[in-house]
Amino acid sequence: MKKIFCSLLFFVVLTSYSWAIKITITDPTIRPFKLYIHPYNGKVKLYELIPQTFKSLPNFQILEEPRSVDFDLKAEDDDGGLKITLTNYKTNEFTIFKMASNLSSLYLLLDSIYEKITQTKGIFSTKIVFSMNWYGKREIFISDFYGRGIKKITSNGRDSICPKLSNNRKYIVYTLYEQNGGTSLNLINLSDYTEKKIYASKELLLAGGFSSDDNFIYFTSYDGKQSKIYKFALANNKEQIIYRSSARIASPVPAFQNGIIGFVSDEFGSPSVFLLNLDNRSIRRVTRTHAYATSPSFPREAGYLAYLAQIGGKNQIFITSYDNTDQVQLSYGNISIDDIVWLKNERFMLASKASDKESVLYLVDIPTQKYIKLFDIKANFSYLNAN
């Protein structure tokens, strides 16, 4: 009886299934977010950065009319600040943001709006640090995303280079050329701009970067014969040599996972990017196809890194997997990039182009390969870093 029932059921299921037409569609049209921004006639002048920002982003399309939009943005004055209402037309939800009339609030607001819409990390509160010529000596500068509040944070009167910003945006470590010929690593606390010397040597020290938990700093030293990579513990001010080589080493950038450090070395004659595995201290060259590769930068997710490589005398951006089985060229053309930093939102990267007369900072949108100019300075800046 059971068997008959089962076979009958099977027959019924088979028959009903055989009546069906099943279609699978896997190909949606990919488009940018459609955003409508209501006109604003209030008093807050900083508001202009909001429409300007979203107009410049390739993953947003600003519509002239509020028809068939995904989101709608309306700004009103509110106690000297701004009250922004973001309406999601797809889910019929709205969110209200309030901001004070100052730059840092505006960047936080932009981040919040961007995160609410795209569900990915905002990048506008990113701090940018670099070294720039100041009356003949290089000093350290810090800037906001659009270069509206650039500040000089060192007054050493001696060359200060290679600033690196911690992941929590509270500290900057940089290299200072000492009067006696050596160099030192100095740590600036950004909450009160106090500064302390954490390591000094007669060798050339170059700050590399903070570990992902901000407890360690990686840096290199070079005495003319040998290079070393150090791991420096901020808690007890103790350093540990993790790699040494007869080649010249620079830019030890820690990856965010897996205990990997990327650095530049001329071990095989010309600068190449290497990966150092902290578990077994082995190194691996990742830029085998390029004769001149520098500036490694890691995204938050493990598995790949970006670097600059010279093609026809111009620095172009590449992304490669750790095992170098594959890579993609991200920039083409006549513009030569001098430095890159991968931002917290993995869609974007900062790229700088510097010359003696002018330096320009671009935001690179990786999927569309568009370069959005953030700001320029009529001076030569170098050692770009951001967080």
């Binding site: 990919i30 082995s282 060259r285 598995g303 089985t325």
Partner: protein
């Protein structure tokens, strides 16, 4: 009288010949003048035409040139516009790791060798992209899958009659897929995040006799469900009536659409 008239005729003839010869002269001068005039007119016309064309072209050239220059200088630089290549920059399958500089001697040689583009290898077919393209790189357009489960031959005559998918119905379904696909739009950042999700809907005829749909399997993502429902709503709002499609549903035939990323 006759003589007189004869003379008259001679005079007349002479006069006529003079008249005709004069007329020829006249016509000739007229033609000559006309020719000169035509030449002058055509020359003037050509001159003015070229002058106007030159002014228009030079003005339009100047305008577009300045606009492009401003765009490039002030807002966005499209590196993608300069993209010249379809050449790979990498030799795959290099997985060697090393610990000392001795093993790296061959690497120096490799590094110094000029890059040879492999013409038989497409740069957009890189394995690295497969792992990260969903995050960063726009995917190549996927091929639309359309799978029709044909009825088994061993069913009863009545059902086999119902189960036969006529060419007209098949054409209509292909059109339907195309319309749904056109309306199914997802913002790029969501597309990257929603990878791997899928949902299924079934078409049916509602109480009012209209074609409607119901979700038979949700993706459990509000955003994903919203965008394919938007596509279906837009499709059904301008849905062309098709007898065969209607009959198929009316006779108990089922049509499922699976939306998959």
């Amino acid at each position: 009288m006759l003589k007189k008239s004869f003379n008259y005729d001679i005079i007349y003839l002479v006069d006529t010949s003079i008249f005709i010869s004069k007329q020829f002269e006249f016509v000739e001068t007229i033609l000559k003048k006309r020719k000169q005039k035509r030449f002058r007119n055509s020359f003037l016309l050509a001159f003015f035409f070229h002058l106007i064309a030159f002014i228009i072209l030079s003005l339009s050239y100047k305008n577009t040139g300045s606009e492009v220059a401003v765009n490039i200088r002030e807002t966005v630089i499209h590196f993608a516009d300069y993209k010249p290549m379809n050449q790979p920059q990498v030799e795959p399958n290099i997985k060697e790791s090393f610990k000392n500089s001795e093993s790296g001697q061959s690497d120096i040689k490799n590094a110094l060798l000029p890059e040879k583009p492999d013409l038989f290898k497409r740069s957009d077919n890189l394995a690295w992209r497969d792992t990260v393209k969903k995050k960063f790189i726009k995917e190549e357009k996927k091929i639309l899958e359309h799978r029709v489960i044909s009825p088994p031959k061993s069913t009863t005559s009545a059902s086999s009659k119902q189960n036969d998918i006529s060419p007209g119905l098949s054409r209509f379904i292909n059109g339907l897929i195309w319309i749904v696909k056109t309306h199914w739009q997802i913002p790029e950042d969501y597309y990257n995040q929603l990878q791997g999700m899928s949902a299924e809907v079934e078409f049916y005829i509602d109480a009012n006799g209209n074609i409607a749909y119901q979700i038979t399997r949700s993706s459990r993502s509000k955003v994903f469900d919203f965008y394919f429902q938007e596509a279906l709503t837009r499709t059904l709002s301008n849905f062309p009536y098709n007898n065969e499609f209607f009959d198929y549903l009316n006779k108990g035939g089922k049509i499922f659409i699976e939306f998959k990323l």
